[in-house]
């Protein structure tokens, strides 16, 4: 399972890829200059490809940005869960220590509750 570190790294790469696609679209616009490549039967192919590519690149960027957000959210959830688990571990350690040193008649109280994982996709840092 990925950790918050993995999700952070992925989010950075995906954001970079999204930027790359933005640049790719602009570069294609320049490379496939319709004033130089409009002739003959290849002209319509150029125009059609530029249109289709622009549309698909925009849609791809939308998905990539959503994916980036999802990775950042998961990284944050993984971090919070990991911190909660750390606190739980500490509380459980105290609970066990107190149980071992408990005098007769003292009340121990309930053990701490283990935090629930945010999803099957999460792994403790």
């Amino acid at each position: 399972m990925p950790t918050s570190t993995d999700y952070d790294r992925w989010a950075d790469r995906l954001h970079g890829l999204s930027d790359h696609l933005l640049g790719l679209d602009a570069r294609l616009d320049r490379t496939l200059d319709p004033t130089r490549l409009s002739g003959g039967t290849v002209g319509p192919l150029v125009a059609r490809t530029v249109d289709a590519t622009t549309t698909n690149l925009a849609a791809s960027r939308g998905h990539l940005l959503a994916l980036t957000d999802a990775c950042r959210q998961r990284a944050e959830l993984c971090r919070r869960w990991s911190r909660a688990l750390d606190a739980y571990d500490e509380a459980m350690h105290d609970h066990v220590t107190r149980a071992r040193t408990l005098d007769p008649g003292d009340h121990l109280g309930p053990p701490p509750t283990r935090p629930t994982a945010p999803g099957p996709w999460a792994q403790r840092d």
Binding site: S38, G39, V46, T49, N56
Partner: protein, 528 residues
């Protein structure tokens, strides 16, 4: 410079290289997304559509790079040729260029190499399988590099053949000394007419050509018209116009004018010894079924290719020598919905039962009354003969004489309406007796009526005499009432027959022309 390659070659090559570079970068990034997809994060909701889109973009760009590369190289090849180069030189150069390019494409994008110049020898189903094994980029490359092969090979989809032949026409008409037979495919501005749907174009010899009229996307019936003697590329507009009249702008009909075989040369009124020699050669060709046999093989393959691609009932209409070609093609394996023989000198068999069983669902035949070619029966019994087994139908009355009668099947409204009905799967109106037969019937009828009248007159002679004598019956009225209708019809029929005969005599009086009269011996002074 030809339209197909009218891009700046340097810009084309630069763009192809740049786009290729971008594709490689995009593939690397896409691989990273794929890696993330496999990372166990259960992110498929977002990664699946992203990967699909990125793969599509990469594919589109890869194809575009290939097309730009091809177009740029074509432009360079054209630039290197001398402007006065002949068609043969251009084709030879294009061939060398395309062979090299084909090899490079094989290295670059993994084209399955075939000896494409041999493609026309393959059966249509094998061609079809090969074509479907190519990806879009390879198909584009094939059309641009081998337009003459792709545009003539049965098994290649018709839409691709149309594109390829447009490329061929564009290339060749850009040459300063281009083949004048191609001028019929240029628009008024002298540019290749993109609206023409040429599904076959071969400039060798007399030339082969086939043109699709109508829209296959809306057509629910298809007709293939096979013309006869004298048909060739130079006069393809004749059968093309026939096909247009048959299609008539109806969306449900598509018609292919198929001059896909080497037909016998047409006879011309000889104005020179050269013309006379041409007629002798033509007479020899048309007397033999050799050309029809070769044409039948081509037609059978063309039909097989149509069957592979289309799912509409197809009617084949063979006219004149084309009906012999059609008949022999059916014997050789051509299948379809309906077969129509028009003005046929015979179709190679004496009965539809001699055709392979179930080759066609129905057979039809028609002759214009007085069609001299149909009367020849040179290649078997007339398909209009009741024993042949074809349904005969009405092709109307022609205003023409002699050979004109043979060429009017797509001219008059009755014939066209019946042919459309057949192509649509309906029942045409039945054949009518010839004009001569009808006049004969009228005259017979007149005789019968006359005899009947005399008989009645005899029986009632006394009463009639009394009536006439007393003035109870007017003699003129009695005669008019008795004979009027029959006489009118007979006179009308005789006038038409007389007119046709006079037209024929007038036509014949112009032969031989004066130039030939001077060359031929005329001891009896017949030409004077």
């Amino acid at each position: 410079m030809p339209d197909i390659i009218s891009i700046d070659p340097a810009a084309g090559l630069d763009a192809a290289a740049s786009v290729g570079h971008e594709v490689r970068g995009l593939v690397m990034f896409t691989d990273e997304v794929r890696e993330i997809d496999r990372g166990g994060g259960d992110l498929a909701t977002h990664t699946t559509p992203t990967l699909r889109l990125l793969d599509e973009v990469a594919e589109e760009l890869r194809l575009l790079a290939a097309a730009l590369d091809v177009a740029a190289r074509a432009a360079i090849a054209a630039d290197t040729l001398d402007s006065s180069s002949s068609t043969a030189l251009w084709r030879a150069a294009a061939r060398r260029w395309s062979t090299e390019l084909w090899a490079s494409l094989h290295d670059d994008i993994g084209v399955t190499t075939v000896d494409i110049s041999q493609l026309g020898r393959w059966r249509p189903d094998r061609v079809r399988a090969w074509w479907e094994s190519l990806d879009a980029g390879q198909r584009i490359a094939a059309v641009h590099q081998y337009p003459d092969v792709i545009g003539t090979t049965d098994g290649i989809p018709l839409s691709v053949r149309i594109d390829a032949n447009h490329v061929t026409i564009t290339h060749l008409t850009a040459l300063p000394d281009h083949d004048p037979r191609l001028d019929q495919y240029l628009d008024p501005a002298g540019r290749p007419d993109r609206s023409r749907q040429i599904v076959l174009l071969d400039l060798r010899g007399d030339g082969l050509v086939a043109e699709l009229i109508g829209d296959l996307a809306t057509a629910t019936s298809l007709a293939v018209v096979i013309p006869g003697m004298g048909s060739e590329l130079a006069n393809a507009s004749v059968v093309g116009d026939d096909a247009r009249r048959l299609q008539g702008g109806h969306d449900d009909l598509a018609v292919i004018a198929w001059t896909g075989y080497d037909a016998p040369k047409g006879l011309v009124a000889p104005d020179s010894l050269g013309d006379l020699w041409r007629d002798l050669v033509a007479a020899d060709e048309v007397a033999s079924d050799e050309l029809a046999r070769a044409g039948a093989r081509r037609l059978a393959w063309f039909g097989a290719a149509l069957d592979l691609e289309l799912d509409v009932p197809t009617t084949y209409l063979g006219h004149s020598y084309g009906s012999l070609t059609l008949g022999l093609a059916i014997r050789g394996g051509l299948t379809g919905s309906r077969a129509v023989f028009l003005g046929s000198p015979g179709v190679g068999v004496d009965s539809t039962s001699d055709f392979p069983a179930l080759a066609f669902l129905e057979y039809f035949a028609a002759d214009a009354h007085g069609d001299p070619v149909a009367d020849l029966q040179r290649f078997g019994d007339a398909p209009t003969d009741p024993d042949f087994g074809a349904q005969t139908f009405d092709v109307g009355d022609s205003d023409g004489v002699f050979l004109q009668l043979h060429d009017d099947y797509f001219e008059n409204d009755v014939a066209i309406a019946n042919l459309r009905t057949i192509v649509r799967g309906g029942s045409p109106s039945p054949d009518r007796p010839s004009l001569a037969a009808r006049v004969g019937e009228l005259l017979d009828d007149l005789g019968v009526r006359g005899a009947h009248v005399v008989e009645n007159a005899g029986e009632h002679l006394e009463d009639l005499a009394d009536d006439l004598a007393s003035g109870a019956v007017d003699v003129a009225d009695w005669l008019d009432e008795t004979f009027h209708d029959s006489l009118d019809a007979a006179v009308s029929g005789l006038e038409i027959l007389g007119g046709s005969a006079l037209d024929g005599l007038e036509w014949m009086s112009g032969w031989p022309p004066s130039t030939l009269r001077d060359l031929l011996p005329d001891p009896l002074g017949w030409f004077d």
